[in-house]
């Protein structure tokens, strides 16, 4: 019977039904055929959304939007350009550095692609960078965003596993930095090979000035971590503090926020959130049916009966996650699969936080790959280049991501070192 549920879901999904309604329709059909109580539909939906922790999602999105509206993206790009622009391929390195800077205020990779890409892709193309390469750098480097706090996928993992979101935030930081480092290297090597231009070096004074410009944005990640780790507020409260902070910085320091823009900003934020949360609600229903059919246990037992070799099991998990990530949206994939796969990971001694980081990282990779890679699509669209061409340029960056994924999967201390410091 679970085949019907999952099969129908996949058919609807591939037929182009929005993911959230593919989940809803397949669940409804399943319940009708089995003659089960339909009141479980509103109930699981309500339970999925009725969560204090998830309030962090609109709050972090709003803080990001406020920062954006307040001109912060430009400041981050200016600072990135001043610090890394002078080397060969300066703008591509600037792109990676901007993603790194932007990751501290944004919770999703897509937000990074859209805001940084819309400024840097046209600039890169103008200076003679290939459009495919420009799209590839933008798309891949934005996957750093959700690894570095704040991070919506990590919040979802924390909610699902009852794990500490503070720990998850910290655990993603080093893998995020490793990714950025790898992307810097690839961008540099490609740029040298193709003799892409470099930017005029800036004086130390100008560098410092651009740093001050970006300072307030960079400070946000520290305020969030300080608040959570210092015991001043919970992750959700931290997100609301971030909103207040972004508001004050945008209005008082950068003086770019105007009250009249507020309603639209808020509506944009909430509508984006509602789309995510409705998905969480119906994924909760879908998950409920899977659990009541005993699928997680069956899958875990099935995987473990194939082999008891920890290395092989991790590799199988990674393969599964990469394939899922290629097709599914991150949050949907997390809500549906994290509870299913966690028992498998635990059975080979993986820590919840460690597995959370691995899963988020693996799913992030799919954001830049066909057939469904929203970051790649948005970046290719901004660069006005075909997805195929952009993907070809993306392959060396993909190599970096896969290498980091393997390192993070097999060396737990890469993710668990920072949370361990605060025990």
């Amino acid at each position: 019977m679970a085949f019907l549920l999952v099969g129908l879901f996949l058919v609807l999904l591939l037929a182009g039904m929005p993911i959230v309604f593919s989940l809803a329709v397949s669940s409804l059909v399943y319940l009708l055929i089995n003659g089960e109580s339909l009141t479980i539909i509103p109930q699981t939906m309500f339970a999925g959304i009725n969560s204090f922790t998830l309030v962090a999602i609109p709050a972090f999105i709003l803080a990001g939007n406020l920062m954006n509206e307040g001109g912060i993206t430009d400041k981050i790009i200016q600072f990135s350009k001043a610090s890394v622009g002078r080397v060969r391929g300066g703008l591509s390195l600037t792109n990676v550095a901007s993603s790194l800077g932007f990751s501290g205020i944004s919770g999703t990779a897509l937000a990074d692609t859209a805001s940084i890409g819309s400024v840097l892709i046209p600039a890169m193309k103008k200076e003679g960078y290939g459009p495919g390469f420009s799209a590839a750098v933008t798309s891949m480097s934005s996957t750093v965003g959700p690894m570095i706090p704040p991070s919506l996928p990590m919040i979802i993992v924390g909610t699902l596993a009852g794990a500490s979101i503070g720990d998850l935030f910290l655990a993603g930081a080093i893998p995020g930095l490793l990714l950025a480092l790898g992307f810097f290297i690839v961008a540099y090597v490609v740029s040298v090979k193709r003799s892409y231009p470099k930017e005029n070096p800036v004086s130390t004074k100008e560098l410092f000035k651009s740093f001050l410009g970006a300072f307030w944005a960079l400070l946000m990640v520290f305020i969030i971590l300080w608040g959570i780790l210092g015991g001043y507020f919970t992750p959700t409260e931290a997100a609301v503090v971030a909103v207040l902070y972004a508001f004050v910085i945008g209005a008082a320091v950068y003086r770019k926020l105007h009250l009249r823009n507020f309603p639209k900003l808020l509506i944009d934020t909430i509508v984006a959130t509602a789309a995510i949360l409705l998905l969480v609600g119906f994924a909760n229903l879908f998950g409920w049916i899977l659990v009541s059919e005993g699928i997680p246990t069956m899958l875990a037992d099935g995987l473990l009966s194939l082999t008891d070799n920890g290395v092989l099991i991790i590799l199988m998990l990674l393969l599964l996650l990469l394939i899922v990530g290629m097709f599914m949206e991150t949050i949907a994939a997390l809500t549906i699969l994290f509870p299913v796969l966690l028992p498998v990971a635990e059975s080979i001694g993986m820590d919840t936080v460690h597995f959370g980081v691995v899963m988020v990282l693996a799913l992030m990779i799919g954001l830049s790959t066909p057939p469904v890679g929203v970051c790649l699509f948005v970046a290719a669209d901004l660069a006005k280049v075909s997805v195929g061409k952009a993907f070809k340029e993306l392959i060396p960056f993909l190599g970096v991501s896969l290498a980091v994924l393997l390192l993070v999967s097999f060396i737990p201390s890469i993710s668990l070192f920072l949370p361990g410091l605060f025990e």
């Binding site: 929005p18 309604f21 959130t273």
Partner: protein, 159 residues
């Protein structure tokens, strides 16, 4: 079809009110943490405001095509085929929404038997968010189908 935009604007207004109230309650919760008083209803009220915010905002997301999908097939369709295709998709969404209304009312009725522990709010008022969501989703999916076959352009969706 001017009333569609009136409806849309009214819902936007409600969403703004709910979400602003939510932010204020969380700020209040942080502030009182540093004061020697105990207020226990903030966590509950935040959640309930959140549920209602989503209930009103999700239909707006439907109208604005914010829901992620795999548009592989869609990109091969002609304009006429797309209209048929969207009609099928939104009819299915409408059916789901109708079930949400009916079953949401049953859920609402379960809430008549008890109250929320910290705030004392009868749970039926909270559970009512689900049938509200269903009703609005149903409205918007019907409107969407109509818009596919009439010359109405969806002003709200263009923004």
């Amino acid at each position: 079809m001017r009333w569609i935009n009136t409806l849309d604007r009214a819902i936007q207004g409600i969403v703004l009110l709910l979400f602003s109230a939510l932010l204020l309650v969380v700020v209040f919760q942080i502030v009182i943490r540093f004061l020697p008083v105990t207020v226990l209803w903030t966590e509950e009220i935040t959640r309930y405001l959140f549920v209602y915010t989503i209930a009103f905002a999700a239909p707006l997301a439907l109208y604005r095509k914010e829901f992620i999908k795999v548009d592989f097939i869609y990109s091969f369709l002609s304009a006429k085929q797309r209209a048929v295709y969207e009609t099928i998709v939104h009819t299915l969404i409408g059916i789901v929404a109708a079930y949400l209304v009916v079953e949401g009312i049953n859920f609402y009725l379960l809430g008549t038997f008890f109250s929320s522990p910290a705030s004392g709010i009868p749970m039926q008022y909270v559970y009512a968010a689900v049938p509200v969501l269903g009703l609005l989703l149903l409205c918007y999916s019907v409107l969407f189908v109509i818009s596919q076959w009439t010359s109405t352009n969806i002003e709200a969706g263009e923004k």
